[in-house]
Structures are given as structure tokens and as C-alpha cells.
Symmetry: C2
């Protein structure tokens, strides 16, 4: 495969070589969070998955414009049931808050979670409420092109009419006849020609706080619309990759394709990528199912299902240890195994930094590096890449133990590879706290140890003096005799 990245395109149902529309530049759009409560483990997965993609594409030398939206309006609580109540407004009313206060609170908490997980911020993070005018323009365009109709101040997408000219269901592999058979006609949907039509613009009920004026009514945009609008606004009418959770394939992404096609005659996206779900006892973890564990609960261990706290990097490693298109089942045992694995990897990173080179190598460095890259190039197969990294860990430990040797050139290459692959591409980091001169407690302890060593030397107690130096050396602290006395530093 060489350096060619292959990715699984949900649209073609096969792995395809990834070629950006403009060489060296990649447009990437990922569906962001609806910010009306704390993010849970299931939410971490798409953002870690596409962070890996973003990091890898950037590592390959591409200039990536990564757009990830914030849904702060228009995501209907239960669209199928026609309740038509905006999720955020509902929560706000319960909490007696201005909806934007709820949005701000959970957006801040989302950003903290992302930072904890070492997920790079996207290049642009547009908010749905910040693009009402643009959404109104697209509604008008779809109306002008004849693929939508207005009823009582709301505008709906005419799926049947669209299907006559284009095919509705190409992403999820459904066809309209099946959809018809499986959709019940429900109360409160009498405004629609067909129950599977979806809202582009909804007239606001009197108690609805989040509303904007439009030529159709004071109302708000439909949920599907924002992604069609914001992706093309910042990435162009056609762009490279659209990502999101598998549960968004239908109807959300299907509707996006229909909206963009109804506007411009063709879909906007070349590669559709979908990550699989995190399950708990075999069931998808979801806010709506009430079976979720928030990221904050995971980081603090405060949830009845948790045996302990799991650090952000443990969560990240846990998610990377499965291929993004497989399900992951949550369990304490699996998380504890990830924690141990990560510790082993980080210990090896330190060992690698301390290895001494020999004249020549008895090990082969290149195959490990090649296999790791081959795995990532094969549709971001991070678990395989991590398995190869652990082959390298064994090698590193053998060199440390003296049963293998490594040449200076090989050692340099191996060091650089691990730094790049583990930190820059997989986005892991060492969670051990950095120790700086600020840390007065360690400073104090070190002063005492240096003074005890001086005492020991004065008493000709060489055993104790050596013990102090050697043990400090083992924990990574070096003592140096200078003209101003003994100084210490972290190696």
C-alpha cells in the first residue's frame, strides 16, 4: 500500500484510495455535538476517530481545513413523534435559563472534555445559531428548485418529488418504497405531504424561545439543514470527507445529501466515513436510552458502574484499541486492560529515551515502522498499528536488558518514529505530571537528600552516599557536583 491512505467510503461500501480534490489540501467536516448536556463515552468516539484522521492527514503534509459544528438549535427532541420541541429549549425551560446559557455551559464542558482527551480543536467550529441567514438562503434555493413546499409557515423537503429525479437513500442503501412501508403516519404531521418528509424550516410555537424572523414565519431551521449549509460554506460546494457516527447515516446524512443535491444538482461529499457505536451490555450507549456514562464520571470514577477513575488517555487508548468501524463494548475489565497497556507503552517510551546505542544492531527497526504506517493507511486500523507498536516495546525492553543491540542510526530512527507515531499521530500523551522548579515539595525533598549525602560523605559512609546517588538515578534524577555545590536535574 505504500504511503497511500485507503478509507472505507460508506457511499461506495468499499475501501477507496483517498485522493483530495485539490492536492495537498483536504476539506473535512464532522458532525459535532448537540450541546444540551454533558458528553458521554459514546460521544468521545467520533471526535477521537476523526482527530486521528485529522492528525494523520496533517502528518502526511496536507493542509487540512477541519470543520466541526456545534448544534445549538433546531435538533428536534423526537422528530419521529412530531413533538417538534427543540432539545435545548426544553432543557432551558426546566432549568429556568436562557437557552443560550445552557448552550454556553455545555459547550464549555464539551471543550474541556475534548482538551482532556487531547483532541485538537478543529480549524473552524461554526454554530448552527450563527448561520440562520445562510440556512434560510438554502431553504429558498430548494423551494426555487421545486424540492420543498411551505405549509402554515413551515417548509418541508419533498422526498417523493426529489426521488423522482434523484435517488433518495443512496447512503444508507434504502429505497423509498421500503421507507414508505416502514413509516407510520402519526398525529401532528398533517402539515406534511408524507410522513418521511422532513422540516427545512419550522414555524415556532408561541412558547418557543429560540426563533428568528423569516419570510415563512418566525421560526427555526430544521436540524439536517445546518450541516449541509455550514460544510459547504466553509469547504466549498464539493469537498473531500464528511464524518460522523454510524447512527447519523439515516436520516441525518441521507437528508444532507438530498438537500445539497436539491440545491446544486449533486451531493457535496466525496468520502463518507462513519464510526461505529460504543455499547454497554450489548446496547448502544445513548443519551436517549439513559445507559450512558459521562466523560466527567469516567475521569473521576464517580458512577455506580465504575470500579475506579479512568484517565483521559486511558479512554483515548481504549477507543484507539478498536477499529473505528467495529463496536466497542464498555467494561471495567477492558478499560483496566487499556490502562495497563498504556502504562507499558509509556514506560517503553521512557526506556527508549534512555537506551544506549551499540556499534551495530541485532534488531530490525524498519519493519515495525512500515507495519504501523501500513495499518493506519488501511482505513485507520489503529488496533493493528498498536499491536505492532507493542512488538517494538518488546524489542526496546530486550535492548535495555542487553539481549539485543541497536546501532546509533537505528536508535535515532526508532526514537523519532515512536515520538511521531505515539504522540503526534495517535495523539497520546504522557499523563505523568511534569515536574518543574515550581514544585517546592520535590525541591525540598531533594535539598534534604543532597544534605544527607553530604553528611554521609563527611562520615565516610560511602554506602549511604552511593545509595542516594544510585536510587535517584533510577528514578530519573541526576546529581552533579558543581563549584556551587551539588545540583540536581531531571534526566
Amino acid at each position: 500500500m505504500g504511503n497511500q491512505l485507503f478509507i472505507y467510503n460508506t457511499l461506495s461500501r468499499k475501501k477507496e484510495a483517498f485522493k483530495p480534490l485539490v492536492e495537498g489540501r483536504v476539506g473535512l467536516y464532522v458532525c459535532g455535538p448537540t450541546v444540551y448536556s454533558d458528553s458521554h463515552l459514546g460521544h468521545a468516539r467520533p471526535y477521537i476517530t476523526f482527530d486521528l484522521l485529522y492528525r494523520y492527514l496533517t502528518f502526511q503534509g496536507n493542509k487540512v481545513r477541519y470543520v466541526r459544528n456545534i448544534t445549538d438549535v433546531g435538533h428536534l427532541e423526537d422528530e419521529v413523534e412530531g413533538a417538534g420541541e427543540d432539545r435545548i429549549t426544553k432543557k432551558a425551560r426546566i432549568e429556568q435559563l436562557e437557552p443560550m446559557e445552557v448552550v454556553q455551559k455545555y459547550m464549555n464542558s464539551f471543550h474541556r472534555n475534548m482538551e482532556n482527551l487531547n483532541i485538537l480543536p478543529p480549524s473552524i467550529e461554526p454554530r448552527a445559531s450563527g448561520h440562520i441567514l445562510e440556512q434560510q438562503e438554502m431553504v429558498q434555493q430548494i423551494l426555487d428548485n421545486g424540492f420543498a413546499y411551505e405549509t402554515n409557515g413551515s417548509v418541508y423537503f419533498d422526498v417523493e418529488k426529489y426521488n423522482q429525479k434523484h435517488k433518495y437513500g443512496i447512503l444508507s442503501g434504502r429505497n423509498l418504497d421500503d421507507i414508505k412501508t416502514n413509516t407510520r403516519e402519526l398525529d401532528g404531521q398533517s402539515e406534511k405531504k408524507n410522513s418521511f418528509d422532513f422540516a427545512l424550516w419550522k414555524k415556532a410555537s408561541p412558547e418557543h424561545i429560540m426563533r428568528w424572523p423569516s419570510k415563512w414565519s418566525d421560526g427555526f431551521p430544521g436540524w439536517h439543514l445546518e450541516c449541509s449549509v455550514m460544510s459547504t460554506k466553509y469547504l466549498g460546494e464539493h469537498f473531500d470527507i464528511h464524518g460522523g457516527g454510524m447512527d447519523l447515516t439515516f436520516p441525518h446524512h441521507e437528508c444532507e445529501i438530498a438537500q445539497n443535491t436539491a440545491c446544486s444538482g449533486s451531493g457535496a461529499v466525496r468520502y463518507w466515513m462513519h464510526n461505529n457505536m460504543i455499547t454497554i451490555n450489548g446496547q448502544k450507549m445513548a443519551r436517549s436510552l439513559g445507559n450512558f456514562i459521562t466523560l466527567k464520571e469516567l475521569f473521576t470514577g464517580k458512577h455506580e458502574l465504575l470500579y475506579q477513575a479512568y484517565s483521559p488517555m486511558t479512554i483515548r487508548f481504549f477507543i484507539l484499541q478498536a477499529h473505528y468501524r467495529s463496536t466497542i463494548d464498555f467494561s471495567n475489565e477492558a478499560l483496566q486492560a487499556s490502562e495497563k497497556g498504556l502504562e507499558r507503552l509509556m514506560a517503553a517510551m521512557k526506556t527508549l529515551g534512555e537506551l544506549k546505542a551499540s556499534d551495530s544492531s541485532t534488531v530490525e527497526v524498519a519493519p515495525i515502522m512500515e507495519k504501523c504506517f501500513a495499518a493506519i493507511n488501511d482505513d485507520l486500523n489503529s488496533p493493528i498499528a498498536i499491536a505492532h507498536l507493542f512488538d517494538g516495546v518488546k524489542m526496546i525492553n530486550s535492548i535495555k536488558a542487553g539481549s539485543e543491540k541497536i546501532s546509533p542510526a537505528d536508535l535515532d530512527e526508532l526514537k523519532e518514529f515512536y515520538q511521531t507515531f505515539v504522540f503526534d499521530i495517535l495523539g497520546l500523551k504522557d499523563e505523568e505530571m511534569p515536574v518543574t522548579g515550581n514544585n517546592q515539595t520535590l525541591d525540598g525533598a531533594m535539598e534534604l537528600l543532597i544534605s544527607l549525602r553530604k553528611d554521609a560523605k563527611a562520615n565516610k559512609d560511602w554506602a549511604t552516599a552511593d545509595k542516594i546517588r544510585d536510587e535517584l538515578n533510577a528514578i530519573g534524577i541526576e546529581l552533579k557536583d558543581t563549584k556551587d555545590g551539588v545540583e540536581w536535574s531531571l534526566k
Copy 2:
């Protein structure tokens, strides 16, 4: 003064008792940053000033809705010269970026700076680009009311006409005749009736990237408009406090008053508060003057004018050590003095935690507390409050030294007061790194010390054993003999 907060109202030019419109609820709006470059020291001042206000109002038991905007469009580079180029667009063109990418980058960096400075996030952080529709509505309202006119697709506020009915200049104490005398007629302003008229909506030139459709033209809103719109959208037609830097008084805040009055017949704001500038060699520190030091440079010490790095809390303390309506002149000496002062205060906070109570007090605790609150109630006089805190520091150190005594009740009160006042109200924090079990280096050093003490005891070297225990005690580490051996903990 008791518990009544007095604040200086720029509008009335005197200190007034602060009474919110609705008891127990406060609406606060502060002009946020224009996100097209890194924030500098001068930018830290308003956000620290109004963070103090936000914290204090909240401490008083108010439910505060704090709105601080992000200016991501419409701030003209040099309005007087009529260049009409959007600051962000200009930077974007130089960097060959999408303007929103520039916005995102510097918004992220601003948020990091705010977090470093321990500035609480506002309740709502609206973006100008996210409220185009609302701004268009206000432009139309002002047009309908006869206080604006359209020329070539742009809409301008008619200052002369407004001044006939209302008074223009009430905040800054100017009158229109003076303004007329001092305003030159410049090229490129022929669209305006008068050079002091200001844009509500600007038609975009062909190369202008950030643009939105409107009934007047494809264009963008004037800078002054966003604050009039976003403050009233989230806080209501009338609200309590509007804050910002003194340099915004004219024209920005004057124009806000005119816009709101032109819309609704009266201004929106009850109390206008303005912080003074930070100067450097006697001149205002400003992006436009090129004499600024960014916060990042201060935190890292990487700037030719800096002798050293200054921690975020040193910067915060430095700013709080001046009254917000006085200028502060930047100097390394002043910052170093702040650093020392903060260290002394934090050391006293630790000492306070370790004080032992006596049967009775030889000190008086109440006056210090009362004076600190009186100072804050007197228009947020933080330097006076800090001076009283240092009187308390002397008292704390005298108690520690044994020359004064404190009763258990007084000690509890003093501890709670310092915690609340220093951490919750002034928003300072201890920057010494927390040491946790994660810190393997300290763990290792402690293991070694415990082992050395065991050796010393085995050798009946009591002097060394005691030295280890006592010195550790002095740096805040306690050794405990347990059935599993010696354990250590931070006091």
C-alpha cells in the same frame, strides 16, 4: 457603607449605589475581544476587572447573567480613514486563510489566556457573525424610525437628525458642535451626509470575503451595532451594567446608546463602567501602536522588554493592585513586586491553614474583614482591599511566631474569610503545582528518604532519623508509622 456596592457610573460621572432592575438578578454586558491576533496585557485588564465584578455580585447572592461578545466581523480597521476593510478579512488575506479560520485560532488562544488568568467564562459568549439577522432587524428599525439613511447599499446612522431629538454625546460628555469642529471631511466618505455618521450596514467590496445578503446589499454590519443587538437580545431592552475599556467610551459606547435610543426611545444601560488603560512608557498599550506585550510572551518571558517570565496569577495580582479606573504603567520592577507580594500572600494562606488556636484572642479579626469588604463596595477598590489583606498577613505571621494569639472561633472565621476573599472574590489561586500520587519522581524520592531513615534508626543514628522527619515536616510532608511501614502524606 455596609454591604451596599457603589459603582462609578460613567454616565452620571459619580459613584452610585448599585440597585439591579430586578432584585437578586443582574444583567452584565462587557465588550469582548476582536479575535484577529493574540491578546496582550492591555486586553487582560477589562476581563479581570469585570471578572472581579462578576465574582463579587455572585458572592453577594445575585444570579448574574454575564454576556461577553466575540467580535469576529465588522470591526473596521481604521474607520476614520474610511478604509472600510474588515480587520479579520485583512489578516486572513495575508495568511491565505479562510477568515473564520483566523477567528477560530485567535478565539481559542483568547480562551486559553482567560483560563490561565482564572477568569470565569461568561454565561453567554455570543459572536457578532452569529447575529447578522438580528443586526439587520435593528438596522431596519432605526431606518423605520427615521434615524438612518441608505446610500449605495450601505446604511448610515444620521447623527445630526438623532441629535435634534435626543442628545448625542451624553456618555463621553461631548456635544455635536465640538465633534463637528474636530472631524475632518475625508475621501471615501462621500456616501455619508456627515463625516461623523457611522455605518450600520456596509456594502461589501467585491474582494470582501465575509458578507451576508440583505435588502440593502451583500455586506456586513457596522461594528457598533453588534453590542447594541447582542446585549439587549440576551439581557432585555433595559439592563443593569455595561462595561468595557475607557477607550471604547467614544465612539463605540456613544454609538451604542444612540442606536438603542433610536430604536426604542431610551438607552438600554443603567450603569456604564469603564476601566482605565495599561500604559508602557506613559503611552497606552495598544495593538495599533505596536507597543504591546502579549499574554503568552508575559507567561513565557519571551519578549525583549521582559527580564523574566511572569505567571498568570502575577499578572492578575498586578492588575488588581491598581484601582480599575487608574492607569497602570507596565514595568518589570512593578511586576516583580507583584510577584513577591503574591508569594507573601500565598505563604500566609498556608500559614493560616496550619495555625493553632489558643483559648482566647489577642487580635481583632472583624476589622480586617470589614475593611476589605468596604473597599470592594467602594467601586471595587481592590488595591485598598489588598492592603488590608496584608495587615491580616502580618497578624497571621505574628500568631505563627507566638507573639499574638487567636481563639478557635476567630481562627475559623479568619480562615473562611481569606479563602472566600482571596480565592472566590479576587479570583487568585495557588499556582504551586498540586502534588499527587501521579508524581512518580516525588514518590521515588520519598521512598528513598523513608529507607534512609530506616537505615539511620537501625544504626541508632537518631540525629539523621530526626533530621529527615523534621525537614520533611518543614516542607509540608508528614511521615506516619503504620502497620504496613512508614507512609507519607502532604499536610
